[in-house]
Amino acid sequence: MSQAIETARTYLKPHKKLPTVWCGGCGLGVIMSSLLRVISKMEIPKNDIATVSGIGCTGRMPTYVDSNTLHTTHGRALAFATGVKLANPKLTVITAMGDGDALAIGGNHFIHACRRNIDITAIVANNCIYGMTGGQYSPTTPHGKRGTTAPYGNVEHEFDASALAAGAGASFVARTSVYHVRELDKMLEQAIRHRGFSVVEVMSNCYTSYGRLNKYKSPVDMFRWMKESSVTLREAERMSPEELEGKFTRGVFVENYMPEFIEVYDNLAERLTSDSTTVATQLRETVERYERLGDRLKAVG
């Protein structure tokens, strides 16, 4: 316990912003504690981390984490994070997004971030609902389940966020839940260590907005649901599609070693700047002349 307090002291902002905005029993606190434990264990200096989010309950996470933090517009966390990482590749860049944020309004950024393989870790807290706005159905609300905008049950079918990430080319994809905390710690660490774009989908519980509408008795009842309706990858392999109906699989689905975007880009730049052909040399001379038009660069060069 003292270890936990120590971690919280070190990695939560020493600021008036506590308690969090989150409801009692919400899974988001579990995800944040796991993240704090992992960065503490990995001993990443706080100044070398950038935590980026969009809008929604999950979007508030950076307000508390004591790193460089950027709370952006709805759905755009990954696009901002891409700029942050490209400008300063030394940073460990972590985005925290909810299901609506990452997969509806931010869906386009999500798939392209998967495809590009920039070294960013994307945490998708999937509670199957828009919590902050009061329980409207999201792209991961299961078919038939209720939201305030699906009062008779969801007509649409849900995304499998991990399958989407894998399909879009993410080089690391894993899923677990806020009930499986040790597994969550392990996966987050693996994801942050992974060189390339990593996605960790965390099934979470929003009792306030999803649970009550869908006849769960309490937040605890929802943790029970996560325990009972999840199966490991190995278990899933032995199960028929019928048996898997209504369940979600946990595990590391993808772990590929692919060239990382910035590495490839910088190698290319390196080749270009050492290219001694006449064409390349002339191109460099021209652009350097343009650079020197400004006094800032003249002063240093």
Partner: protein, 383 residues
């Protein structure tokens, strides 16, 4: 003419010149999405940035492009994107975040005829008001409009410099004609362009206020990965950058982001005048329209009408200073614009009925001709 000098004379396109200005101003990050008629800016940056230690990325849309340049700026880069009307519309929400969070960045908008997809390859000046008011909520913006290819270089440097100095997004408003026009340009000598920078936060790591909004000076901006850790948010925030709903703090913040720019309107005003000394008819114009208006001034003078031209390079914040000064000698002002009347509203507001102000709009995707402006002036103001 020596061989060395010859190398400095170039035939450049407006869009290319913008990119050169960006390089001169130390822009080292560019994110963009292809769109006519601005794509040449992105193409230039893609070709040249890796040669000078910068990075280029083509994002999945314009929303992502502006998000990426804001993110890069927060992490210490000088950053820029380029687009046209439809893409500029998509950028509005994040432009507002940059205004509120006071993040320096530059958006080049090569204006084409709209609304909607409109006429992708034809010029317009239809985004003047969108530039000022496009994002929701009270805010202010700096926007500059060049009329020549050389000015594309100069004003891009200004955009970067002002963005850094005032910690604000700035917009370079080109129109399709200026963006695609080619002119011969003599590059000025090295070190000609001065570019401000966003400053460095003080040594006190615990009490850094990235969002301080008091007094006259804009707070220096640290960068992610630097000695200061800080929070950036699109929520209305206090001086530490954390969300606040305290009415006084909110009020102070909104006044701050507006006043730091609007109160400097006269200081930021850049104008160019032609035959205004004795004029009694003033043409007020910007961008490619100002080039045509200049020819009209000559035509009108030949007809014995004492015309002059006030060409504004600073569109926003709008300064009425020069108009006020000239007003007593004027019997009329004509404002030709490739839209149905946008910046003319500011002219009318400034003049307040003292001198007749006539709008001449053109929205058919064509440039004005000197005759068109000349004829309009003679018809409207023949007294």
């Amino acid at each position: 003419m020596s061989a060395k000098r010859n190398k400095d004379i170039k035939v450049l396109q407006g869009n290319e010149a913008c990119a050169i200005g960006a390089v001169a101003a130390g822009v080292n990050f560019f994110a963009g999405y292809p769109i006519t008629p601005s794509s040449e800016v992105a193409e230039f940056m893609a070709r040249h940035l890796p040669l000078i230690g910068g990075r280029f990325i083509q994002m999945e849309d314009e929303i992502a492009s502006i998000a990426a340049i804001i993110g890069a700026s927060i992490a210490g880069s000088r950053s820029m994107t380029a687009t046209s009307g439809p893409g500029f519309s998509l950028m509005q929400e994040n432009l507002g975040l940059a205004c509120l969070a006071e993040i320096p960045c530059v958006v080049v908008n090569v204006m084409r005829a709209g609304p909607s997809t409109g006429l992708p390859t034809q010029p317009a000046q239809a985004d003047v008001m969108q530039t000022r008011w496009g994002t929701h909520g009270d805010h202010a913006i700096i926007a500059l409009a060049p009329s020549t290819v050389l000015e594309c270089i100069e004003l891009t440097v200004c955009c970067v410099s002002l963005a850094e100095k005032y910690r604000t997004p700035t917009v370079l408003l080109l129109d399709e004609v200026i963006g695609h026009m080619r002119e011969s340009v003599t590059l000025p000598p090295p070190g000609s362009y001065h570019c401000e920078s966003r400053g460095t936060p003080g040594a006190d790591l615990d009490d850094y206020c990235p969002a301080a909004c008091e007094g006259d000076t804009v707070a220096p901006l640290g960068h992610f990965g630097g000695p200061h850790r800080f929070h950036v948010t699109g929520l209305t925030h206090d001086k530490h950058g954390f969300p606040t709903m305290v009415p006084d703090e909110v009020d102070q913040k909104i006044h701050w982001i507006v006043d730091k720019i609007e109160s400097r309107a006269d200081e930021l005003a850049m104008n160019d005048e032609f035959m205004t000394d004795d004029c009694d008819v003033l043409l007020f114009a910007y961008g490619s329209t100002a080039r045509v208006a200049k020819a009209s001034v000559r035509q009108l003078r030949e007809q014995g009408i004492k015309a002059g031209l006030l060409r504004v390079k600073t569109i926003w914040p709008f300064s009425g200073k020069r108009l006020h000064e000239l007003a007593p000698q004027l019997r009329g002002i004509v404002v030709p614009e490739m839209n149905m009347g946008q910046l003319v509203l500011e002219v009318e507001r400034t003049i307040g009925g003292g001198v007749p102000v006539r709008r001449l709009g053109r929205v058919d995707g064509r440039l004005f001709t000197p005759d068109q402006i000349t004829d309009f002036v003679t018809e409207e103001l023949s007294a």
